[in-house]
Subunit: 215 residues, 4 copies
Amino acid sequence: MTNAIILGGSRGIGKAISDALKKIEINVFTASKNDIDTSDLKSVKEFIKNHNQTDILILNTGGPAPKQFFSITEEDWKLYHNQLFLGFCTILQNIKINDGGYIFLISSNVIKEPNPKLIISSAYRAAFSEVFKILSKDYAQKNISCINIAPGPINTDRTRELIKNVKEYEKTLPMKRLGEPEEIGNFVKSIIENKIKYLTGVTINFDGANSNYIF
Amino acid sequence: MTNAIILGGSRGIGKAISDALKKIEINVFTASKNDIDTSDLKSVKEFIKNHNQTDILILNTGGPAPKQFFSITEEDWKLYHNQLFLGFCTILQNIKINDGGYIFLISSNVIKEPNPKLIISSAYRAAFSEVFKILSKDYAQKNISCINIAPGPINTDRTRELIKNVKEYEKTLPMKRLGEPEEIGNFVKSIIENKIKYLTGVTINFDGANSNYIF
Amino acid sequence: MTNAIILGGSRGIGKAISDALKKIEINVFTASKNDIDTSDLKSVKEFIKNHNQTDILILNTGGPAPKQFFSITEEDWKLYHNQLFLGFCTILQNIKINDGGYIFLISSNVIKEPNPKLIISSAYRAAFSEVFKILSKDYAQKNISCINIAPGPINTDRTRELIKNVKEYEKTLPMKRLGEPEEIGNFVKSIIENKIKYLTGVTINFDGANSNYIF
Amino acid sequence: MTNAIILGGSRGIGKAISDALKKIEINVFTASKNDIDTSDLKSVKEFIKNHNQTDILILNTGGPAPKQFFSITEEDWKLYHNQLFLGFCTILQNIKINDGGYIFLISSNVIKEPNPKLIISSAYRAAFSEVFKILSKDYAQKNISCINIAPGPINTDRTRELIKNVKEYEKTLPMKRLGEPEEIGNFVKSIIENKIKYLTGVTINFDGANSNYIF
């Protein structure tokens, strides 16, 4: 039986991945913030005591509320350094991924085209993407695939908090709509289901043609 | 019934995509070099007379033999300008993609990390990737997804021509093996099968963690 | 005495580089379109007969008028393939750059963030940037530096043709102004003047913080 | 009189920039680790009390000793989070840059092509590069230029610590040598000296054609 741990699985993209993986022969542990709060290293350490290995790991967590650079406090930086970076590092240092497994990172398209309102998220998600890229080469030797999905505007509670008038916003998007969490959920499922392994060490924009950078 | 046209479908990655799509409810036209030779604009124009619309289009073609910059002739440049760039532009100008369709471009990871032996391929595949990126925003308005797959070392005849000692080469790769064409075939199939549409305007390295660039 | 050849030197950025280099101990040949028309390979071949070596080479040429993808003709593609790509390749295949020299390519920031109105320019300038990157490693062995400058909106005739209301446009830019050709001219001059050689194999956005991509 | 503050100015690249700027009409404050230790936020806060504004700021600091991912401790992460990221953020939040000024960040080419031995540096320098990119658009409105220089192998004590056999290593480099700190020093000087302002929001590889990524 294949086991999966999904962080931030109680809503949004995490929940959609959880729902999708439950449709195939996978034993899914859907972690909510009660199970593990990546902004709190104690909580992370407690979690990894009870979950020290898995076949599939989904690294996923929400981001901070929008804040301009000059109003970000030292406490803000440190909190989100834990939540978006150090918690994930600690997890990868301690949870063994079984050979032939998968690690999916749900980051954000702000890592490529940083957003002034999401400066904390742009910074720390990029930092962890560097770590994840480096580790993908090591994990490859154990046939473990590392896939960094960088979503653009997805139809989640989070997006509705960030965007005031979603209807108006959607008109400005190339696809004239937000992405659906289920599209990402099904994408993750289909890679696992089809045993696609060579797709690794990669960052995949999932943003409905919204980004402008060539790659 | 959904229709697909697959260029360069008689072998390698093209054939794998063709085989994969035949497993789902798709009416696949697998074009060989006899049907359309993208290096010959007359052949392209003849082809588009008989194939002026489709739901799914796979833009795929082989590359030139390795050649150092100073030995490339004007004829070489012009031939591969047709094959890797202008033929594809002509196709997109003339074949209507039906609303809700898909266009997959099979390019190469040399577009991001150019290869001195594959200088022609690096140049013209990058050029067409620029066109494809721009068009993805227009196609998005018709719910057509544009996905640029940039393969690394895949187990094809082409790779075996380029690499002398494949066994030795494989030892240098992070995954210790070439990618299988079927992995790309199944990847394409699963996107279509799962109706994943928001994955568009994107270039996806498919290279077994072989590239070094962060994104 | 150090010799320089500057293509497209009669106006805009080319002229600014020419003016700047004349201020230091350099023997500048400022080529106008009458001397060499890179869209015409015969003209290129004639030019290289008389200019078969130099210390400093500035690859610079104007781009096409804006045109939407579906209205670009085969003749357009071929003309600008010559002008923006093949002419430059032919030049590098035939003009010897003396050891310790410099090659500057004036491309455009559309190579990183392609522009639908400048689709031809985005494609072929990217293609040549691939060639230039590859060659930079060879040239490095002869202590020749290859620097790709990718300008954003610069105060040239060209920009005033592309942008209807320059005053309004400037208000949308981070610096609230176009860049001045002299800034690029002085930049090129100062690199040569200070014998900075390790800056090579690099693409440098010169766009007043206008681009959004992280790198 | 123009004032400059140079962090990490007692050796290597910092010292070379300091030496270069002293040759022009600039009042240079060369900060050593005794003046400000960016890994210690108390030290940073003390420093900014006495240096609350400048015209030119050079953000420069050494990186950690090489360490594999699985041996990095929580203390390591937190120390270098301060040194490479949070110290710099605190400085930019508190030191006013005068209108028309310059901020140079000396990062590393590992931000684009991350290095497994320099994983901490790859991560946090990338994170700060995101912040710096975002801020460049704000600073542009005050005619302040933000230039991120990403050096490759430069002839510093640091490089000699990282590389065992420098002579052998140099043979593997395109230019067959390390870069000289003076090349970066003179580069910075010449931008300031020539009042080049439109070069901003940019990351400049300074690596002797060593990197492989196209841009």
